[in-house]
């Protein structure tokens, strides 16, 4: 609680005690009671009255301070002094609770995003000085000790350590970094001491980009927020006008109607006419939703996108790097005569001087030191493969064409992917299948999309038909389109947008490389593995910090939960207000009930909104 809230709390307590005293102690003269009530009113309501007076001079008639002042002073004037005080008291309790709840949720979201580094230890004049990260320039050397946040993006030049990327990615397993590797600001250095050369200024560093994004997220307003502010705009004047009519008309047309009774009813109207309690819970819900998403490593750039995600109808994904790992790996070794291990060894040795992706994946799969002195001669046969003399044996590693060229009798493989055939001393010894692997996470993601009522999951790729078909079948996707050129992707997405229902949304998710036109075209463009890729962060509406597609599914769940809470709050608050209006017009609900309803609704709506921050782990 800050000072402002503490002061308000003290005023509430004092005023409440005075009200209690004057209720239970019977003075000889009624006047003493009234004086006590009046003192209580001044203590609790002076700031509201002062603000109201100030606001009238500026023409703000429908300001909540003004409305509360009229309602309470009106009550006092018609002789309902205790009610006037009580209404003001409850109103202040509600206000206090509201500011407390808003403050709490601000803090909890801020702590979710607590990645802003406070300082950097920079080497200057052979000494280490502690400076603001803003003052460090590119090329300077900084030191990050265990437990400290990495303040700027850079490259490790000395030391090694485990770094915690939890705040950036939602990933709880620490990452090992060593000399020559890039590190991102906002990560926490767990154990070792790192010397880092700064690659980007603070303003351009990952941490600034992310903070900027999250801080500005709630400025892009959703349709629900716009609806509720529009509602508030009309609601208050209408209720106030009805109140005026209620006070004046019935006493004239209904026989025996007391002017005082109807004024009382009208004043109850004024108590519920203030829209603030109603309006607060909606942005609070979106704020919470965006906060909850950022906790799992998904940055949503605006409430409007969070709202739209709840209506996801079509998900269009890229294949390579999105559903698959994007790196070629040895998937299968099929050896004849030799153990698999030896086949891989000869293949790796044969290709040991090549930098072709296939050569790299063969060496990675072999994963042992290669004694290059054993390879005495090596010759690349363009578009076919490699011929090398390994340990005095003639080894051929390549595709079908290579086998044909050397007239080797080989068994063709039926596997999907790139098949590498190996022959030793003119004899076929087996094949190795190299393919891009589907991420384990993609299976989970597709299941979760289906569970969240996504109607079509479509894969677009420039890759070959048979490889794409295999991926689509394994993942159980609804549709796939292979061998596409970049412009084909755009026209297909345009077609899908025309096919979807009017409320449904099309989401495109890709790794952000060469996807800018499609990202912009989709209702919601999502870039994955956004860390470090500025263009992707720039072009997309939602950024998934890791490379897991299933995070999108979790984000859709958060979005649905947020929207459910928003709807609950809108319906609940509006219906309670209307009910109270009807009851007080009929004279059934007292002013007490009105203020209870008003404050109660806002308290419940805020508590409901705070539920979003509770994320299932």
């Amino acid at each position: 609680m800050d000072n402002k809230m503490k002061k308000r709390l003290i005023r509430i307590i004092i005023s409440f005690l005075i009200v209690i005293i004057s209720f239970f102690i019977e003075f000889n003269n009624n006047l003493y009671n009234n004086i006590l009530f009046f003192i209580a009113y001044i203590i609790i309501g002076y700031d509201i009255v002062l603000k109201a007076i100030r606001n009238i001079s500026r023409g703000h008639v429908f300001d909540e301070n003004f409305l509360m002042t009229i309602a309470t002073i009106g009550a006092i004037l018609i002789g309902e002094l205790p009610e006037g005080v009580a209404v003001m008291l409850f109103y202040q309790v509600g206000e206090l609770f509201q500011s407390y709840a808003v403050d709490r949720s601000r803090k909890s979201v801020a702590s979710l995003m607590d990645i802003r580094p406070d300082y950097a230890n920079v080497y200057r004049n052979k000494e280490i000085s502690k400076v603001d990260p803003d003052d460090v320039s590119v090329g300077e050397i900084i030191l990050v000790k265990p437990g400290e946040k990495i303040p700027l993006d850079g490259t490790v030049i000395e030391g090694e350590s485990m770094i915690n990327t939890l705040a950036l990615t939602g990933e709880s397993i620490p990452k090992h970094v060593t000399k020559g590797e890039n590190v991102l600001s906002g990560c926490i250095n767990n154990d070792g001491t790192l010397k880092i050369r700064v690659d980007k200024e603070f303003e351009e560093s990952t941490v600034s980009k992310i903070l900027d994004l999250v801080e500005n997220a709630s400025s892009r307003k959703s349709r629900s927020e716009n609806f509720i502010s529009k509602f508030a705009k009309y609601y208050t004047p209408i209720v106030v006008i009805i109140a005026v009519v209620l006070a004046i008309v019935p006493p004239f047309i209904i026989d025996g109607a007391l002017f005082k009774d109807w004024v009382y009813r009208a004043l109850s109207f004024l108590v519920v006419s203030c829209p603030c309690a109603l309006v607060i819970s909606i942005p609070l819900s979106f704020f919470g939703g965006i906060g909850a998403a950022s906790r799992i490593g998904v940055l949503v750039k605006g409430s409007n996108y969070l709202e739209a995600l709840a209506n996801t109808e079509i998900i269009v994904c890229d294949k390579t790097g999105t559903l698959t790992e994007g790196v070629f790996k040895v998937q299968k070794v099929d050896a004849i005569d030799y153990p698999d291990e030896d086949l891989l060894k000869y293949a790796a040795y044969c290709e040991c001087f090549s930098n072709h992706p296939i050569a790299i994946s063969l060496r990675e799969a072999y994963n042992k030191n290669i004694d290059e002195s054993l390879v005495t001669k090596t010759k690349e046969i363009s578009g076919k493969g490699v011929l090398s003399i390994v340990d005095k044996r003639k080894v051929l590693v390549g595709n079908k064409k290579l086998m044909d060229k050397y007239k080797i009798d080989f068994k063709e493989s039926s596997e999907v992917g790139t098949v590498i055939y190996v022959a030793i001393d003119k004899k076929f010894v087996g094949s190795i299948v190299i393919a891009d692997k589907i991420k384990d996470d993609s299976y989970k993601a597709v299941k979760l999309f289906k569970k969240n009522n996504v109607e079509r999951i479509i894969m677009l790729t420039g890759d070959l038909e048979n490889i794409s078909k295999d991926v689509a079948n394994k993942l159980n996707l609804d549709e796939y389109y292979a061998e596409l050129l970049p412009q084909d992707k755009v026209s297909l997405v345009e077609k899908f947008i025309r096919q979807k229902s009017s409320n449904g949304k099309l989401v495109f998710i890709g790794d952000g490389i060469n996807d800018a036109p499609v990202l912009a075209l989709a209702d919601i463009g999502i870039a994955m593995g956004g860390l470090g890729s500025d263009a992707a962060i720039e072009a997309s509406d939602v950024v998934i910090m890791t490379d897991e597609v299933s995070k999108l599914a979790s984000c859709i769940e958060i979005s649905k939960k947020t929207m459910r809470i928003v709807k609950e709050n809108i319906i609940f608050a509006i219906s309670v207000k209307i009910l109270v209006l009807i009851l007080s017009a009929l004279g059934i609900a007292s002013m007490w009930a009105a203020v209870f309803a008003d404050v109660g609704v806002s308290v419940l709506a805020i508590l409901n909104a705070l539920r979003i921050l509770v994320v299932k782990k």
Partner: protein, 74 residues
């Protein structure tokens, strides 16, 4: 056009924030004004040479509409 960010403190409620945002949008030399009540943040765009004048005029509007509100650049 350059984007400027301010911390905005002392707003009572979302509605007041929305109304103030509406008033600030009437200032002709600034663009894309938005107030986020939850983040206590005021963001706007204007030409670099107009920055001082823009801040002056924003402060005037704030003084008239919400005298308790203070802003400071971040």
């Amino acid at each position: 056009m350059k984007k400027y960010k301010f911390k905005i403190k002392g707003l009572d409620c979302v509605n007041c924030a929305n109304e103030l945002e509406g008033e600030l949008q009437k200032i002709d030399i600034i663009d894309k004004v938005s107030i986020s009540f939850m983040m206590e943040r005021l963001v706007f765009e204007c030409l670099i040479e107009n920055k001082e004048e823009a801040i002056d005029r924003i402060k005037k509007v704030i003084k008239k509409e919400e005298p308790d509100v203070v802003i400071e650049e971040v």
